[in-house]
């Protein structure tokens, strides 16, 4: 994996500052979603071989949740986006049961440059 990761808020930073949570694809179902949807969300994975989106947190920097596009076979890092921006670009709702709840981001907060 690249030694330096381009954080959208902090610029190029050492990889060790980041913590990888895992696959960003599973979206938390609504609380009243059917059992199967919850089972799949908690347990089943696409386990991508190739380019996948992951939730990373820049714990040693801005502490923002990020979505990193990374290749699981070559370890190449292709793109890094703020999780809130990523979710917005996907057109999914950002409050309540959307992907942003899983990533822990809130829109409109913590965006100041450090």
């Amino acid at each position: 994996m690249a030694s330096l990761i381009p954080c959208p808020h902090c610029g190029l930073r050492p990889k060790e500052e980041f913590s990888i949570r895992g696959d960003a694809a599973p979206v938390r179902p609504r609380p009243d979603a059917p059992f199967d949807a919850w089972d799949a969300y908690v347990h089943l994975r696409d386990n991508v071989r190739g380019v996948m989106h992951e939730h990373w947190q820049h714990v040693g920097g801005c502490r923002r949740w990020l979505v990193v596009e990374r290749d699981t076979f070559t370890h190449a890092v292709h793109a890094v986006t703020d999780a809130a921006d990523f979710t917005r670009a996907q057109g999914a709702p950002t409050g309540g049961g959307g992907a942003s709840a899983a990533s822990g981001t809130r829109t409109g907060k913590g965006r100041a440059k450090r």
Partner: protein, 416 residues
């Protein structure tokens, strides 16, 4: 050809010209009773026990590289049966008993060495947890012994016993645990299966699974279509990829685990010792190199190589446990792709497809399980029913809430 001291003597006198290849290299037939995907330890053991225990010899093992080129050749060779939970311990206990008779059974030197496995503890709470684990092991008929500080010191005097943060208080010892030559195990099973008529087909990657009405009819491979009555998947880190060909999603994440070997040293450490303050395990190979490893790199990967940050943390754990090895040079480091399941325990089960069977989720404990995994998977493939030792290792246990979660971490694959 039977291997013996006599055969070595005879070949030595005749210029070693009489040795035969240990297995054939057959071309795939058009159809088999059973096809096993994955020519690693588990796949080969499954083929061996299918032939030996169940008399099913019209079997092919398909391997995309060479036999034993995956995790069976990449682990730290530790054999043990020190699990806590009911669904696991009897299975691994059976595995250890199979290990004990393996070399005679296979007529192959797997260099099985029951040198003992010591899990160190560093606090009162950890001692209590290990006492509980030891009791669970003894209930399953295994040996376990809680050692105090001085008993550990007598065995491994060079540990950092008075570490300010993690003093060594003692350890849980399983004397029947130890190490085995990982390649030798794969080769022994391969030779045993081949001699019973199983076709071991190398350089044959499965590229698709052909289905008709809820049943598998065969597999597409780089060497053409091969039909089968039953299909078993034992693809370890690539299980998710192979299962996807059958339209399944698994409770599995593939992650990379690194291992290391140092330059050769004189005999130094007799047992396998694991650190209780971090995930770290250390033993010494017969060649003299220290063999050790730590935790996962903690991200999804199919790359069979890891990152330096993890290397650094493993080395730190090594120096914390055994300060005297801080100047030893590391010779090699490598990575393997682990099929991390959502509760840290394996899966040997049927699937929604009638004649498709699954063997995966070994996390980083697959090597020690090789004999029992093959034993139970062969039973499943032959009879269609789970073996009693593997009846808890169900695919649907996640949905039903019967996880076998040794560490209690929940559905986060890389924490197990």
């Amino acid at each position: 050809m039977k291997y013996s001291a006599f055969s070595i003597f005879r070949e030595g006198l005749s210029g070693n010209r009489g040795w035969k290849p240990a297995w054939r290299e057959p071309d795939p037939k058009a159809h088999y009773d059973v096809i096993i995907v994955g020519g690693g330890g588990h796949g080969l053991a499954t083929a061996y026990y299918l032939a030996k225990n169940h008399g099913i010899t019209n079997v092919a093992v398909l391997e995309k590289g060479y036999l034993g080129s995956g995790n069976v050749g990449r682990n730290t060779t530790i054999v043990r049966a020190n699990y806590l939970l009911e669904g696991n311990e009897p299975f691994y206990a059976h595995s250890l008993r199979l290990w004990e008779g393996l070399e005679q059974e296979l007529n192959f030197n797997a260099m099985m060495s029951q040198r003992g496995v010591i899990n160190l503890y560093h606090s009162d709470g950890q001692r209590d947890a290990f006492a509980r684990r030891g009791n669970a092991m003894r209930l399953a008929g295994e040996d376990a012994e809680l050692l105090d500080r001085e008993q550990v010191r007598a065995l491994v005097p060079f540990l950092d016993f008075d570490n300010a943060r993690f003093p060594v208080q003692g350890g849980l010892m399983q004397r029947r645990g130890g190490t085995a030559r990982h390649d030798g195990v794969a080769w022994g099973y391969a030779r045993g299966a081949d001699s019973r008529g199983v076709d071991l087909i190398q350089n044959c990657e499965v590229t698709g699974i052909r289905r008709e009405g809820g049943r598998v009819t065969g597999v597409e491979t780089t060497r053409g279509f091969i039909g089968c009555n039953r299909l078993g998947l034992a693809a370890a880190g690539n299980s998710g990829q192979v299962a996807e060909m059958a339209g399944m999603r698994l409770p599995i994440e593939s992650q990379v685990l690194q291992a290391f070997v140092s330059e050769g040293l004189k005999p130094f450490i007799d047992q396998v010792v694991t650190f209780g303050a971090a995930l770290f395990y250390l033993s010494q190979s017969d060649k003299g190199g220290l063999v050790f490893g730590g935790s996962l790199d903690m991200y999804n990967s199919y790359a069979q190589r890891g990152n330096l940050a993890t290397v650094e943390s493993v080395m730190e754990a090594a120096c914390a446990m055994v300060p005297s090895i801080s100047r030893v040079k590391v010779l090699r480091a490598w990575g393997g792709v682990m099929d991390m399941s959502m509760d840290g325990s394996p899966i040997i089960d049927r699937t929604p497809l009638d004649n498709l069977y699954l063997n995966c989720g070994w996390c980083y404990g697959g090597f020690k399980a090789t004999p029992a995994s093959g034993w139970c998977f062969a039973h499943l493939l032959a009879t269609g029913e789970s073996h009693e030792l593997a009846c808890a290792l169900r695919l649907d246990r996640f949905t039903r809430g019967y996880q076998i979660d040794e560490t209690g971490h929940g559905a986060q694959a890389n924490l197990h």
